[in-house]
């Protein structure tokens, strides 16, 4: 599979009064053409920061990308001119953010916002110039695709008049009408009820099957990731700690953090609840040296404090990699 997006050793820091928060600490990630990739981790692990860096929408300052490369189809996004990145955002990649109410502008109607997206994304590279009628027809069609009832009426509604599930559908429609190649969904269903979540995910899945963009799904809900992706990255405190095919990761997690995280999820089988992971996400002002997980790890060794582990391959396939000294050979 040819890589569509390749993040190499990305470092992002945030400047605050007390100093610099070293949030992303060498993130590596590959998304293949047409691949569905998941990214999981606790709150504050840097998941959203990663996709914001890819879209180049991080507020700089306070943020600063202090190292690394983000290669999108052979070109480094971090070195692109702003016109280039803009055309990328219009025509090739887009994101669905966590809170649809914050993502939609409250003073414009849904139709207005959606049609703007369609208008500008269709113009990229002089692809086509749509008339107002065509834009409207297309906006209705894309809303229908996401399973929105009564989509013609919805176009003249304001975001506050819609329910949470409907708002999220509007966001998904916007993202889909712009994205041809890469769709990044940042916790698209966290605020929704389970039955609505199931609907949205099902529709997202159908749309992805039909249009075949690459997808990066960020979530802290492990079940959602398991149902929708082919490969998963596990992130902890600005580092990738494990990557594997979804099936392998859920069957046999290797990294102590991934293990503990999976164990913490309450199961329908009713086997009780684990003790959770002791401690909490480190302070990024002075993150622990070496492996950032070592203060919370039950298997910490002396070397964990000194050196940062690199990815070690385990098992018979190359696809399952884990950044932990326990698996060094």
């Amino acid at each position: 599979m040819t890589p569509l997006l390749e993040i190499k050793n990305l470092h992002v820091r945030f400047k605050i009064y007390e100093g610099e928060l070293k949030v992303l600490n060498g993130v590596d990630m590959v998304i293949g053409e047409g691949e569905k990739v998941g990214l999981v981790g606790e709150t504050g692990c840097g998941k959203t920061t990663t996709i914001k860096s890819v879209l180049r929408v991080l507020p700089t300052p306070p943020a600063r990308i202090s190292g690394g490369e983000i290669i999108y189809r052979g070109k480094d996004i971090l070195k692109m001119k702003s016109a280039e990145i803009r055309s990328l955002r219009r025509g090739e990649m887009s994101a669905i953010f966590q809170d649809p109410l914050a993502a939609l502008n409250p003073v414009f109607t849904v139709g207005h916002q959606l049609q703007d997206v369609i208008k500008y994304s269709s113009r990229v590279g002089g692809r086509e110039h749509l008339s107002k009628k065509e834009i409207r027809a297309r906006s209705i069609a894309v809303l229908k695709e996401t399973g929105m009832p009564d989509s013609e009426r919805i176009l003249s509604n304001y975001p506050i008049q819609l329910s949470g599930g409907m708002r999220q559908r509007v966001c998904i429609s916007e993202a889909l009408s712009a994205a041809a190649r890469l769709l990044m969904a940042d916790e698209p269903t966290t605020n929704l009820d389970v039955t609505i979540q199931a609907q949205i995910l099902r529709q997202l899945n159908e749309l992805v099957a039909k249009r075949k963009p690459s997808i990066l799904l960020i979530s802290h809900s492990l079940g959602v990731v398991r149902n929708l992706t082919e490969r998963v990255y596990v992130m902890y405190a600005g580092n990738m700690v494990e990557v594997a095919r979804t099936k392998d990761l859920f069957a046999d997690p290797l990294h102590p953090y991934a293990k503990a995280l999976l164990k913490s999820v309450p199961k329908l089988t009713g086997e009780g609840i684990s003790r959770g992971i002791r401690g909490r996400i480190p302070n990024y002002l002075n993150p622990p040296s070496g492996c950032r997980f070592h203060p919370r790890c039950d298997h910490a060794m002396p070397i964990c404090e000194k050196e940062r582990p690199t990815f070690f391959t385990t098992g018979d396939s190359d696809s399952h990699k884990v950044a932990c000294f326990l698996y060094r050979r």
Binding site: D193, H220, L268, G270, I273, I277, R280
Partner: protein
Amino acid sequence: MSEEILTVENLKKYFVTKQGTVRAVDSVSFSVKQGETCGLVGESGSGKTTIAHTLVGIYEPTEGKAFFKGQNISKVFSQRPKTLKKEIRIVFQDPGSSLNPRRSIKQILELPLKVHRICSNSDRMGRVMQLLRMVELPPEDYMYKSPQVIGGGEKQMVAIARALAPNPSFVVLDEPTSALDVSVQAKIINLLMKLQQNFNLTYLFITHDLSLMRNVASRVVIMYLGKISEVAPTVEFFQNPLHPYTKMLLSSIPAVSDEEESLKPKEVLSRGEIPSPVNVPPGCSFHLRCPQKMEICSQVDPTMVEVEKDHLVRCHLFSDGREAT
């Protein structure tokens, strides 16, 4: 053990708004036994929190009654005797907004001790430290901190300590972990279970997470649009869900393992959204989304039937005594 500590009879809470009357809770009856964890599950807008707030006296019920140890508690907070306030405590969903940011944790925990005269002035400090130790927060580190500087999980621990300060016997937990990560959630749930055993507490545990419910509750009450649709003991409930809504809920859960997947009822595709509680559809409120809708559903509201022992369901599929399919 099986003594009923709380009985709710025909509880109704309506809110009058410009758009019409919102029937947030509509004729709800259930009971909670001494020492158990009763789970209250439903989607947002189904009236779970309204029930919780009515039980602790934030709202006055429009109609119906609630009894706590034989005492009528359908009164607002200001009219309740102090002993009742001491017995029934609540932990709110969002610990960020339920703790006063201008008070230190010590002050927050002292307040219920002062109000209920739990201990003498000289013992108070010791009791605060004991409470903090009980929720596994080292008192020396946390006592003088403000809630703003500690993490979400720790805030919720403080909120739990505050709820337990006057030695209550009944605690309402209103989605105590829904704003938190799974790893933190596991920690808090563990603590809650331990405290329940140590102090013989009774919980009304409100959540929308059914897999969590499976692990904590002994009995489950499912709500939809202000009404109860199914009540069953947990194990029975997950093996044999009856109401179509419950099946839809269960099949919507994203599972993390194959064993779990096999426990879910066959894919019941969820569709539609919760209607606004201002215009509840006539008949059964679920009929618009129900895959097994019959003609009667849009006309007559079903009543509760006991299908098996302790397993109640409110659905026309079972109202004529038909067996589950």
